[in-house]
Structure formats: structure tokens, C-alpha cells
């Protein structure tokens, strides 16, 4: 077990290194925008650009520049944005994290609860017309582009029906901090939460239903039933619990990916200045230090989630432990 954990950690670090090199190359090996020009401001003289190029070490070989950037990102933590020399990247990300976490966490609660309800209902109602109906509903959820759904939600709650009693409580787009105004925080995030969770509700409900029906036929469930346990107890005690293993591991991966910037579209559409939004804005300005930091941040979450899920699996089920 320990060697497995160590191996997993080593490969995680390797993957993170690979990603940072890849991001660096994508943006540096490509001509188009000169970082020194970005740093120098609006209409600098060519000599100012040369000066800044030297000050920031941009005239040095690529590997050295990579090393400098990594040192500033991880060790001295004073990496500076190219589009704003006064802006340190690490605190900027730290400031954006609560928004992303609030968004993803709330959405996760909603999608887990609704997916379990939907999945269990569909499994229980198998054979009736409700099962295929629920599953089609789930598929529709999976098939909707999240940014479009967000816009339609905005159209309804912010414009068309904002005047009506149904949506007059919806605040203007943007994030309201939890510590400052808890109720405002809730109101400002409810629509984004629902929008983001639709896809996952559909997806998890389908996975859960399939698992439930599969476990249904396993021996120990049949035994439990033969022992005379009520259907409800069988469902809750045995079937559901077993099915949740896949559910939970999937959840780990998706949660990691969303916290790591996967909620970019939702953040952009709802004007939530989280990590995804920050990445998007820095991509627009080709602000490499910020892109580098946010992508590495995102990758950390994804790789961590992957590793945790693998280790949890290995712990639960020794058969998958690689030799």
C-alpha cells in the first residue's frame, strides 16, 4: 500500500511538471505577443521595452526563463502579472478561490441530492413509464451547453421575469461574499448553482440507476432479500451503499475538475470572478504568468482528485492495486 502511495505521488509530481512545461511552451514558443511590450504599458518607446525585457529576464534562454518563473511561482511567490505590474499572481488566485469553491460546493450539494433521488426513483420505478421519462430528462440535462443554459437563466431571472414576484429577489450578477452577507451570498449563487448542477444531476442519476440495477442481481442482495428484509431496507442498506462506491469516486474526479477551473463557462456567464474567470481574462490578454499559475492550480486539483480516488480504490479493493 505504501509503495503504491509513493508511486502515485511521484507520478503526480511528474504530471504537474509536464503540464507546467507544456503551458510554458504553448505560450512562449509561439510568436505573437511580446511580454515586454505588455509590461511596458500603452505606448512605450522601444528603449523602454528593451529595458523591461532585460529587467524581467525575458532576454535569457527559455529554460532559464522557465526556471525563473517556477521559482517566482512556488518559492518566492511574487510572480507578477504581465498586464499589471502591480498585481501579484498568487494572492490574486487566493482571492478568487472562495468564489469558485462557493460555486462548486453549492452545486455539488444540489447535484448529489437530486441525482440520488432521481436515480433511486428510476431504479425503483423500473418497468413503469416513469423510469424512461426520468432517464430522458437526465439525458436532456446532459445535452445542454452550460453557458447557454446560464444565459437562458439570466434571460428569465434578470430580464423577462425579474419584475415578477418569482424572481425579483435575484440580485445583479456577481459574487457576494459569504462572510459579508450570508443571505446575499446564497441569493447570488442559487441560479448559478442550479445551472451548473443540471448536467451532473443527469449524469449521476444515470450512473446510479445503472449501478443499482446491476447490484440488484448480486448474490448478497438476493440473500438479504431471502432473509426477509423489507425492500426499503434492502435498498437503503445494501444496494444503495454498494452503488455509492462508483458514485463517490466519480464525484471526487468531477469536483476536482470543477474546482480546478472546469466551472469557467458558468463563472463567465454569471460574472463570478473565480479561478475560471481569472484564467479566461488572462487568456484574453495573453497574460502568461496568470495563465501559468491558474492552469497549474487547476491541474493540482485534477491530479490530486485522481490520485485520491485511485488510492481510495486501492484501499477499498486490493485487486486493482497495481504490482
Amino acid at each position: 500500500m505504501l509503495t503504491f502511495v509513493i508511486r502515485r505521488t511521484v507520478s503526480t509530481i511528474g504530471v504537474l511538471f509536464g503540464i507546467s512545461v507544456m503551458v510554458f511552451l504553448i505560450f512562449f514558443a509561439t510568436p505573437g505577443v511580446d511580454p515586454a511590450r505588455q509590461l511596458a504599458g500603452r505606448n512605450p518607446s522601444p528603449s523602454s521595452i528593451a529595458l523591461i525585457r532585460h529587467q524581467f529576464g525575458l532576454d535569457r534562454p527559455l529554460p532559464v526563463r522557465y526556471a525563473i518563473m517556477m521559482q517566482k511561482l512556488f518559492i518566492t511567490r511574487d510572480l507578477v502579472s504581465y498586464s499589471n505590474q502591480g498585481q501579484k499572481v498568487v494572492p490574486e488566485i487566493v482571492a478568487a478561490v472562495p468564489t469558485t469553491l462557493s460555486l462548486v460546493f453549492g452545486a455539488a450539494v444540489i447535484w448529489v441530492v437530486l441525482a440520488v433521488v432521481m436515480g433511486v426513483l428510476a431504479a425503483v420505478l423500473k418497468g413503469t413509464v416513469f423510469d424512461p421519462l426520468l432517464m430522458i430528462l437526465a439525458l436532456i440535462g446532459i445535452s445542454m451547453p452550460v453557458f447557454w443554459l446560464g444565459e437562458v437563466a439570466n434571460l428569465i431571472t434578470q430580464a423577462r421575469f425579474h419584475g415578477s414576484f418569482l424572481f425579483s429577489w435575484v440580485p445583479a450578477l456577481g459574487y457576494i461574499s459569504l462572510t459579508g452577507d450570508p443571505f446575499g451570498w446564497f441569493k447570488s449563487l442559487l441560479i448559478p448553482w442550479l445551472t451548473l448542477s443540471v448536467l451532473y444531476i443527469g449524469f449521476y442519476a444515470r450512473v446510479l440507476r445503472a449501478n443499482l440495477l446491476e447490484v440488484e442481481n448480486e448474490d448478497y442482495v438476493r440473500t438479504a432479500r431471502a432473509k426477509g428484509l423489507s425492500e426499503r431496507r434492502v435498498l437503503l442498506r445494501h444496494t444503495l451503499r454498494t452503488s455509492m462506491i462508483t458514485f463517490v469516486s466519480l464525484f471526487g474526479l468531477d469536483f476536482g475538475a470543477l474546482v480546478g477551473g472546469g466551472a469557467l463557462l458558468t463563472e463567465v456567464v454569471f460574472g463570478l470572478h473565480g479561478v475560471g474567470y481569472l484564467t479566461y481574462v488572462s487568456l484574453q490578454n495573453l497574460d502568461l504568468p496568470t495563465i501559468m499559475a491558474t492552469v497549474v492550480y487547476g491541474a493540482v486539483f485534477i491530479v490530486l482528485a485522481n490520485a485520491l480516488v485511485d488510492i481510495a480504490y486501492a484501499w477499498l479493493d486490493p485487486r486493482v492495486r497495481p504490482t
Binding site: L16, I142, P145, F147, L155, G261, L265, I291, A299
Partner: protein, 347 residues
């Protein structure tokens, strides 16, 4: 993201007529699945109307949906009206394009902020979205299958290298990866230049190739697993013992035995790539103006959401219908090929 867990074909204790090929059996099962058939018909219908875009624009609506037409006019209830209406009040600020007329010949869904026929653009947009979606899914599956065959079959160092590279791409947040590469290639003065191949920024090939590339690990992983397990099968081991060359074995013995995985994945991949394309275009790093895709039209429509919401709503509905039909179809194909398989897709 796509995860696939497919069991081996043919393990199902089949009660079907013996002697038929598994493909013929699968087709038969698929034909019996009414919902899948309906989805298939819906998908074909969307393809047909999308590809009739030039006909619709030229012969029905009589518009060029790629040319600005803010000074244009159209006919509503028999009267000629300008496409744009100046704002009211004492200040007369703003210009609002015409809304849906529900007249197929005259701006059925209204005009966008450049005076272009939205209905015609939605059809043309469907054409690009489908071309990119299908193209990138096919390319992605081809590359992934090839890599998986090589990696799975040679094993050792080759497998290690390919799989580590895939791990890196896998851990890169997928949408960020696509946006990053698109942004850089669009900013490069000459688009993508690799040797003799030169793809300009306005080409549909750019988003097609980018989307194909980012999903390779998602297809690679399940296929490699299958290649590994097929490799251990007796008939392959026997062939190796007889001294068959690696290449010949990979293509003649292993490939046919993993094809069904690709077939199941393809419609679901297309659904995913269409969603990804729409997201890229929405963020203006996908299909480039004046060309349209469903995503770019939603992007155009977001500036008109307040006064002319249909510009953004209509292409979204088309995306939902297309992706839904592909997902249902994919389910059906999977059930037909292997009723016990589990598969997931999200976007």
C-alpha cells in the same frame, strides 16, 4: 469527460440466432429499439436541414447571411420595413434589429446586430458545428486507436512514453487546454504552420484539430485497456508464437476486436465535441467570423439577450436536440453491441 467500461463482446449468454456475426446481431437489436431509431431520425433530419442552408438562404429567404446588412429592409405583413429601429425618447440612442417575423421568406427569426438573417445563420451554423463535431470525433478516435494499438501492443518503453504523455494531457483541465491552444494559434500571425501544412485562422480545420487533440486521452485509455486484454487472448498469443510480425498482428487480429469500442464511443464523442465546439465559439476562440457555428451565434445573441433573445435561444435549442439525439443513439448502440457495458459522457 468520457469514461468507458466495456466488457468483452460476446460474453453475453446470447439467445440470439447462432451463426450470425455479432455486428448483424447488434444491428438487429438496434432496429428494435424505437427510442434509438427516433433519435437517429432526428439526427439525420438536423443534418439534412443544416446542409440545406445554402438552398434556404438563396432560394427561400433570399439573403446572404455572411454580409452585414444594417441598412437593409424586409417585408412584414406586406409592408416594407427597415431592419433596424432607432431608439426612442428624446435622445434616440441605440438601434434595435428586427425580431422574429415567423415568415420563412423574410427574416423568420429576425436579424442580428449586423442585420443578418438569424434563421439562415442557424442553418449554416449547424453545418459548421456538425462538420467540426463529426470531423474532430473521427480524427480523435483514429489517433487514439492508433496510439493505443502501438502502446498496448509494443508495451514497455513505448507504452510508458505514450501513456505518460496522455496522463499530462488528461490532467490539463480540458476546456482550458482547448482555449489556450486556440488563443495562441489565433494570435500567431499565420495561424498553424507545421511543415508544408498551413492552416489559417479562419479555417474550420483549426478548431477541428484542436478539439480532436484534447480528447485523445479520453478515447485512448479505454481502447488501450482492450488492446491489452485482447493481446493476452489465446489466438493472439498463438499467432505471436508462430512468429507473426507485430504490425500485422496489431492490425489484423487486435484491431477488429477493439473496433466495437470505437463504434460505441463515436456518437458520444460527437456529442461531446459538438458541445466543446460551441463553448469555444461562444468564447470567440472557435469558428471565426463571419462564418457561423451555433456557438458563435449564441455569442452574437448575448449582446441582444435583452431585446432579441431568440438570437441566442434558437441555436441553443439546436445544440440540445443534436446532442440529445446523439446521446440516445449512443446508448442504443451500446446496448445493442453489449447490453452490460457502462459508459459515461459529460461535457
Amino acid at each position: 469527460m468520457i469514461d468507458v467500461a466495456l466488457d468483452q463482446p460476446g460474453v453475453e449468454a446470447s439467445s440470439e440466432v447462432a451463426g450470425r456475426s455479432p455486428w448483424a446481431l447488434a444491428l438487429r437489436r438496434l432496429r428494435r429499439n424505437r427510442i434509438s431509431l427516433a433519435a437517429f431520425v432526428l439526427f439525420i433530419a438536423i443534418v439534412v436541414i443544416s446542409f440545406s442552408a445554402p438552398y434556404y438562404a438563396r432560394s427561400v429567404a433570399h439573403v446572404d447571411p455572411f454580409v452585414n446588412n444594417v441598412n437593409g429592409t424586409t417585408i412584414v405583413n406586406g409592408k416594407r420595413v427597415p431592419l433596424f429601429q432607432q431608439g426612442g425618447g428624446i435622445l434616440h440612442l441605440g438601434e434595435t434589429p428586427i425580431g422574429p417575423t415567423l415568415d420563412l421568406h423574410h427574416y423568420f427569426l429576425g436579424a442580428d446586430n449586423q442585420g443578418r438573417d438569424v434563421a439562415a445563420r442557424v442553418l449554416y451554423g449547424g453545418r459548421s458545428s456538425l462538420e467540426i463535431g463529426v470531423g474532430s470525433a473521427v480524427i480523435c478516435c483514429l489517433i487514439a486507436t492508433l496510439l493505443a494499438l502501438v502502446a498496448g501492443f509494443y508495451g514497455g518503453v513505448v507504452d510508458g512514453l505514450v501513456s505518460r504523455a496522455m496522463d499530462v494531457v488528461w490532467a490539463f483541465p480540458v476546456l482550458l487546454f482547448a482555449i489556450s491552444v486556440s488563443t495562441v494559434l489565433l494570435t500567431a500571425p499565420n495561424g498553424l504552420e507545421v511543415g508544408p501544412v498551413h492552416i489559417v485562422a479562419s479555417s474550420l480545420w483549426l478548431p477541428t484539430l484542436i478539439i480532436a487533440a484534447i480528447y485523445v486521452p479520453y478515447v485512448y485509455r479505454p481502447i488501450r485497456g482492450h488492446v491489452l486484454s485482447v493481446r493476452e487472448k489465446e489466438f493472439v498469443q498463438a499467432a505471436i508464437a508462430q512468429g507473426a510480425s507485430n504490425m500485422r498482428l496489431a492490425f489484423s487480429e487486435v484491431l477488429p476486436n477493439v473496433t466495437h469500442v470505437v463504434v460505441v464511443l463515436l456518437p458520444l464523442m460527437i456529442a461531446t465535441t459538438i458541445l466543446t465546439e460551441s463553448a469555444l465559439s461562444f468564447l470567440s476562440v472557435g469558428v471565426q467570423a463571419p462564418a457561423a457555428s451555433w456557438g458563435t451565434i449564441i455569442d452574437d445573441g448575448q449582446g441582444l439577450l435583452y431585446t432579441r433573445p431568440w438570437v441566442a435561444i434558437a441555436p441553443g435549442i439546436m445544440i440540445v436536440l443534436t446532442v440529445l439525439s446523439l446521446n440516445v443513439l449512443g446508448d442504443g448502440i451500446r446496448d445493442a453491441l453489449d447490453p452490460r457495458a457502462k459508459l459515461r459522457v459529460d461535457g
